[in-house]
């Protein structure tokens, strides 16, 4: 409902998703080739790993010895491939041991909970506190340098971390409604666990396993480097590094092949883990690097002058890099000083995007393609926004709890804004904070100032957010769904507060909401957004009494209270088209009962239908006639 771009969660075919990324494909192919080469080492190598060639000691790579030879003239390629057998086998032993312990325990702990959970988590904590290397050394000392035993011990000792993560994922899955639904069907708990919970943990298991494989390889090579495990002349990767170390100052090359193969293999495991994590996480990958880029219009095409406090002129915003997807298309409107303008629309209409563009805080992956935001007669560039924020334009947001930094007390959050905007110091700040909190009708302001955000209710948090926004005496307040997350009685209180403060301070408000009741309650002017376009703009009474766009009319009609009790509601068929499917013609045509072939042709302009009333429709007369008879 908030930001226009939603990341679609990964679905089936994880392998395909991993192979589709270049990094993932390279890592998988490398590991597959390495494994094959090590398994088939006798077939692939010309020399045995122990064959000494006195004529070619310490050789550099050549046609005969592709990777050179060591101090005894043994072929390095052959030693790496044969040595890889014990390394890879060691990794497999460790990984399997870890999976066998951690996955069942984690699943059971997370899904069953209760006493089992507490006992298993204590065990995990215990395992995580055991210094694994120390125990491995003890195991090696005791079991006569048996590397397999050591690697299995490593797997078991390291299973605490994976156990916790699997439990965490299972715990989340247990709260998922589809798991509840499966339980209600009467599936046994084991069935639910295997069918629905395990799938949810798959991502974290694969990620952790590949990262652990990297660690296990590091430990295996480290142990063999120390001379533990298989004894010379058996080839091991760590052993080869140790052998090379003794002659390194004379023959640095010998260090390169084993170091490279260890590094590449560790990297491949690590990259695989990262790629799987990216593919399974629902986090927006676009949140990556880079800041908002503003391609503001060249200086010559200055904005048209305007008397309004704020004027938006032909604003278009797109998301993404190489082939930007337009989310907001040529949006223009004005807000006069002291006026309350409503911006109404459903998910994907671009209303939150508009609100964020007005304060210069678009998501990092979005950019202004064209258009201006003119404030107080001045077209704003990015640097200008920074100077205006808090002082001239302020914002309150949809989720009051998320809007307050959880690590700071209310008093210091509000105080920070006071210090920044008013330059006050010391006791004056405390006084101003209490004054602001009292202004937003918080009883016992001094007491609330000492609390942390998690200690207050959502309604109270929204009051604090309003106090912060109004500290600098802004002339325009952008309120993005300010009451959506609140209960209806709290919503009424917050709206009353906003109305009072707006009237007292004479400030303009842009109120973004999907709730037509809230719009009717607060606004004097309304803009209706549909699929990134303004489709209607009117004074509030005119819009609700005689909507001039079929979408606005249909939206008003789809309130349940418009239909009689038990009667069907006049619903709008179909769904809002997503940005990639926006047609050239009318974007509402496919859901509109008045649509004609012309509607699907050219782009529809926004036309005047009366004083201060515009609509983006070519069937207005028919609509008005129809509405009149209804």
């Amino acid at each position: 409902m908030s930001s226009g771009v939603q990341a679609r969660p990964a679905r089936g075919g994880l392998v395909r998703a991993v192979l589709r990324t270049p990094r993932g494909a390279v890592a998988v192919v490398f590991l597959a080739l390495l494994t094959t080469a090590c398994v088939c080492a006798p077939l692939l190598t010309r020399f045995g790993p122990l064959d000494q060639h006195i004529d070619a000691v310490r050789g550099l790579p050549s046609g005969t010895y592709w990777l050179g030879t060591d101090v005894l003239g043994r072929d390095l390629l052959s030693r790496i491939l044969f040595g890889g057998r014990s390394s890879l086998l060691g990794v497999v032993e460790a990984v399997v041991a870890q999976l066998l312990v951690a996955v069942p325990a984690g699943l059971v702990a997370g899904y069953f909970g209760g006493l089992v959970d507490r006992a298993l988590m204590r065990l995990a904590e215990l395992l995580m506190s055991i210094p694994a290397i120390m125990i491995l050394l003890a195991v090696l000392a005791i079991f006569g340098n048996s590397l397999p035993v050591a690697m299995i011990a490593l797997g078991v000792l390291s299973s605490g971390g994976l156990m916790r993560l699997v439990r965490g994922a299972a715990l989340v899955a247990r709260e998922e409604l589809y798991v509840t639904a499966a339980e209600l069907m009467g599936l046994s708990r084991t069935q639910v666990m295997l069918r629905h919970v395990l799938g949810r943990c798959r991502g974290v298991i694969i990620v952790q396993t590949s990262l652990f494989a990297a660690i296990a390889l590091g430990v295996q090579t480290g142990l063999t480097f120390l001379g533990l495990g298989p004894q010379p002349p058996e080839p091991t990767w760590g052993g080869m590094v140790a052998e090379a170390a003794s002659v390194f100052s004379q023959d640095p090359w010998m260090l390169v092949p084993p170091g490279t193969i260890i590094a590449l293999t560790v990297l491949a495991f690590g990259v695989l883990g990262d790629v799987v994590r990216d593919a399974t996480s629902e986090r927006q990958s676009a949140a990556g690097t880079g800041r908002a880029r503003h391609r503001t219009a060249p200086a010559g095409t200055a904005a048209a002058p305007s008397d309004a406090l704020l004027s938006v002129q032909g604003l278009s915003v797109a998301v993404g890099g190489d082939t930007p997807l337009r989310l907001l298309d040529d949006v223009s409107f004005e807000i006069a000083a002291g006026e309350v303008v409503g911006l109404v629309g459903e998910s994907g209409s671009g209303k939150s995007m508009t609100a964020r563009a007005l304060i210069g805080l678009l998501p990092t992956n979005c950019l202004v393609e064209s258009g201006h935001v003119v404030f107080d007669g001045k077209a704003l560039r990015e640097a200008d926004f920074r100077a205006l924020r808090g002082r001239e334009i302020a914002m309150i947001s949809q989720e009051p709890m998320a809007a307050l930094d959880p690590s700071f007390r209310i008093g210091s959050l509000v105080g920070e804004v006071v210090r920044t905007l008013e330059g006050k110091r010391g006791k004056a700040v405390t006084e101003r904070v209490v004054e602001l909190l009292t202004m937003v009708e918080i009883p016992d302001a001094a007491d609330v100032a000492r609390r942390y955000p998690h200690q207050i209710s959502g309604g109270m948090a929204q009051r604090v957010a309003i106090a912060m926004a109004l500290a600098g005496g802004p002339r325009l307040l952008i309120a993005d769904e300010p009451t959506t997350a609140l209960d209806v009685t709290v919503q009424a209180e917050i709206l009353d507060l906003l109305r009072r403060l707006q009237q007292e301070n004479g400030m303009a408000v842009l109120l973004v909401s999907h709730n037509l009741g809230v719009i009717a309650d607060m606004c004097s002017e309304v803009l209706v957004l549909y699929a990134g376009q303004v489709v209607e703009q009117a004074a509030v009474d005119a819009l609700f009494a005689a909507p001039a766009h079929p979408y606005a009319a249909a939206l008003l009609a789809s309130s349940p209270e418009k239909a009689g009790i038990g009667q069907p509601i006049r619903a709008i068929p179909g769904t809002v088209p997503s940005p990639e499917d926006w047609p050239t013609g009318c974007r509402f045509a496919n859901r509109c009962e008045l649509a004609e072939p012309e509607c699907r042709g050219e782009a529809i302009p926004l036309v005047d239908v009366g004083a201060d009333h515009r609509s983006r429709c070519i069937r207005i007369p028919v609509l008005l006639e129809q509405e009149a008879t209804r």
Binding site: M1, R8, P9, A10, R11, G12, E176, L177, Y178, T180, A181, A182, E183, L184, M185, G186, L187, R189, H196, G199, R200, R202, E346, S347, P443, D487, V488, T489, Q491, A492, L495, H514, N515, L516, G517, V518, I519, A520, D521, V540, D541, F544, A554, L555, L556, S558, S559, P560, E561, A563, I565, G566, P568, I569, R570, A571, I572, P573, T575, V576
Partner: protein
């Protein structure tokens, strides 16, 4: 226990553990009854206990007292998650993202309850029977034929809610619990889903326990409305009566607070709301008193000393208020 009731909840009480070894009473001695084919609406704000009641009926909340019976048979509420499933009772939840397993196809998701039922009855489905029934069900909720092979992520919120409805209906239940089933949807999509629920009810004669925070939505679909506050029933009665003439101060406050999508009427309602504005005092612990008294402009001393019982009102509802009948005229609010 009357057999004419499909679902009957008596003196239900649910306590959740709270920090410092205390308990939090989420539902406090609530009685409910749903007849076959009837829709009961539960309405209330967050913390009213409306979803907890649904969970208690479904067997996933810690019931500390009271009985729940379905079709004349008492359900064991204490053995959470372990009782025999009741095929005749299904549920649709609020969050259309969380209610579908993202790694399973829509066809599998919808078929799963049917397969579980067949498995329990040790019955083999005729070849293609499951597939045909899934296809018919998806068609009925308005999804195209190829939907079965696709994954939930490929559908919009409204479509996912249709899938969840299909999953609930595939085993031909007699009662469906809809817990905030349309709350996460856009207005135009909410209207579609409400219409779908209404049509299916008319076709199949099923009943709903319809839970929402939105009084208007509840009044639209329900025959009977129950208003909850802090785990207790404040008022209940026929939807038309609650709509026309709410008698409990809380019901009125709730109605007065919800804005009407009409600027003229909203101005009137806002003016009327002034009567119900009341600087809230700190909410006391629930005891033998009225849970709404700290927010009630009409509270008298008695409200703090005696817990009000449900009493019949002139409007045809029952309300738990000591001052029923003494309150000012209600027309300004419901205008």
């Amino acid at each position: 226990m009357s057999a004419e009731h499909l679902l009957r909840v008596e003196q239900l009480q649910v306590d959740y553990p709270a920090p410092r070894r205390r308990t939090f009473r989420a539902v406090d001695t609530v009685d409910l009854a749903v007849r076959p084919g009837e829709t009961l609406g539960l309405v209330g704000e967050s913390g009213s206990g409306k979803s907890t009641i649904a969970k208690a009926i479904l067997g996933i909340a810690p019931v500390s007292a009271g009985t729940i019976s379905f079709d004349g048979v008492a359900l064991d509420p204490k053995r959470v998650r372990r009782r025999k499933p009741v095929t005749d009772l299904q549920a649709v939840f609020q969050d259309p993202t969380s209610s579908l397993d993202p790694s399973k196809t829509v066809g599998y998701t919808v078929a799963e309850p049917l397969l579980a039922q067949l498995g329990r009855e040790r019955r083999k489905a005729a070849p293609g029977e499951v597939r045909d029934r899934v296809a018919a069900m998806l068609d009925r909720v308005g999804l195209s034929g190829n939907a079965a092979a696709r994954y939930p992520a490929q559908f919009s919120g409204g479509q996912r809610q249709r899938i969840a409805i299909a999953r609930a209906l595939i085993v031909d239940p007699r009662l469906v619990i809809c817990d905030e089933a349309v709350s996460a949807l856009d207005l135009s999509i909410q209207a579609q889903v409400l219409n779908l629920l209404g049509d299916i009810r008319a076709e199949r004669g099923i009943g709903y326990l319809f839970i929402s925070h939105d009084l208007q939505v509840v009044e639209h679909l329900a025959d009977t409305v129950v208003v909850l506050y802090r785990g207790r029933v404040m008022e209940s009665g026929p939807a038309a009566a609650i709509h026309r003439s709410p008698e409990h101060p809380y019901t009125r406050a709730l109605l007065a607070a919800s804005p009407v999508p009409d600027p003229v009427r909203q101005r009137e309602r806002r003016a009327a709301r002034e009567v119900y504005r009341h600087a809230p005092a700190r909410a006391d612990a629930l005891g033998e008193s009225c849970p709404f008294r700290h927010r009630c402009p009409f509270a008298v001393e008695r409200c703090a000393q005696e817990r009000p019982v449900l009493r019949a009102t002139a409007a045809g509802t029952v309300a738990a208020c000591h001052r029923v009948g003494e309150l000012p005229d209600v027309r300004a609010v419901v205008a």
